[in-house]
Symmetry: C2
Subunit: 139 residues, 2 copies
């Protein structure tokens, strides 16, 4: 059922915008490097995948379990007022699922974050500690 | 497992912007009345639900099955170049899942549709035939 990591190539635009967190059973978990909102991306390690609904159902169920896991982590760590969950892929076609915590006070609210957030990277020296905290919460 | 329709109240903003298509086992299926893109919305008939990941897993699995069904219907009827699937709810908090067909030539491409499409209702006299065709495809 699980894809082989050796087959997996992450789109360079995702690599450029995100920090690697961890490999879950089906997805690579990334944190978008924008401190304005807590924003995770799950990239299923399935070559050539572009649409979630084209995956076999057991893979979709595992992906949904990982979306649930990351939603719970996000709620535990950041207490957002709303979750935004979506698979768009209009710019980067490699299948990836956004799991974003939204706040009434965030710079894009109530619009979607895509295209509506200024560049706002995390302080580089604080990233390792933050990523460690996220990994600890994942167990 | 299934919610009781008698408990179900559709947010009036969804009623105002959409046409009723059919009740699936867990969701009410709506068509957004904007002819610029084929745009469906699934509203699980679960009172007070705002986050997909707060639903019990069997309900989420049924919802995922319905997202798959509507994605396939959309691909069959409209042959889009990309699907956009998302649960946002920043404006209307009642849980609803967007399933949207996107084209490189649509007025919002490659941006998300939300907030980026002009008002473009279907011709009223053509709507009943279109809705019938969609219902027929659903079997």
């Amino acid at each position: 059922m699980l894809a082989q990591p050796t087959d997996f190539h992450l789109d360079p635009r995702l690599s450029a915008d995100c920090e690697f967190v961890v490999d879950l059973p089906i997805s690579r978990l990334l944190l978008v490097n924008n401190a304005s909102v807590p924003w995770f991306i799950l990239v299923p390690r399935v070559d050539e995948a572009t649409e979630m609904t084209h995956l076999a159902m057991p893979i979709q169920h595992q992906l949904l379990a990982e979306v649930n896991q990351i939603s719970q982590l996000l709620e535990q760590l950041y207490q957002p007022q709303k979750l935004n969950i979506g698979a768009l892929g209009n710019v980067v076609s490699q299948l990836h699922i956004h799991v974003i915590g939204r706040f009434h006070s965030d710079p894009a609210w109530p619009s979607p974050v895509w295209g509506n957030l200024p560049n706002n990277p995390y302080i580089a020296s604080e990233l390792p500690k933050m990523l460690d905290k996220i990994r600890q919460c994942l167990g």
